[in-house]
Amino acid sequence: MCDEHVLSQEFEIKGGDFSNAGKASTSIKEILREIGIDSSIMVRVCIAAYESEMNVVMYARRATLTLSVSPKMLNLRLEDEGQGIADIPKAMQEGFSTATNEMREMGFGAGMGLPNIKKNADHLEISSTPGKGTSLDLTFFLNKDREK
């Protein structure tokens, strides 16, 4: 869906690995800063990446997060293996959460993740198979104003 990629990088995320949660997003921020992505877009991408990463750490077994950057757009694609999401519209509602106390002690699990991802991305596609996993495709436009 993108133009020729100028950059593509994959990150492996482990479910349940709370001590490393957020490392991929921190690396993504460094990469985006190095290649000179506008800082307001960078923060939106990083927030979406971080929320996605926390979702994997909290709910899935493992995932691959792929960052692709082309001259016109930036794409984050997350493929996880895990329990999946049974009711996506419900999961997109602010405040809906199935988090445990451990997750809440980390400062997460308030049912803000997916709504916050949606708010920050220009385009979001999500699909899930309960018992198998979830895939998330996020697009951010680089050369024009947000289309929202």
Partner: protein
């Protein structure tokens, strides 16, 4: 207000980032819930929090916050301090509780994050 002035006002201890104490702070926000910080936070924020694990520093870094003040005498864990050094975010710790720390800053003219629903 500079971070140094905030340190004096809150009688705070500097945990890391002594070299950043002269940065200007324009606005602040307080929360223990990192999901909320990701939702309301804006680049340049001074984050006040009682969450002392490394996620507080990660969250601050993700939103481009300028500094973190831990309330109620809390201090981040070693992983948090190491990350803060790597990414250049100064960390302070005050004995004041969240409400009082925020109130002292607000009284001195440090506003909250603009664009909250009550202001719209």
């Amino acid at each position: 207000m500079t971070l140094r002035e905030i340190m004096d006002l809150l009688q705070a201890e500097v945990i890391s980032g002594h070299e950043h104490l002269d940065i200007e702070i324009d606005f602040a926000g307080g929360s223990d819930l990192m999901s909320d910080v990701l939702a309301f936070g804006k680049p340049g924020l001074l984050l006040l929090t009682g969450l002392s694990n490394a996620q507080s520093v990660r969250t601050a870094n993700i939103i481009d916050a300028k500094a973190v003040v831990y309330v109620r005498g809390k201090k981040p864990d070693a992983a948090g301090i190491e990350l803060a050094r790597e990414v250049g975010i100064p960390l302070l710790s005050t004995k004041y509780m969240m409400y009082t720390a925020c109130g002292l800053l607000y009284k001195q003219g440090v506003p909250g994050v603009s664009g909250s629903s009550i202001e719209e």
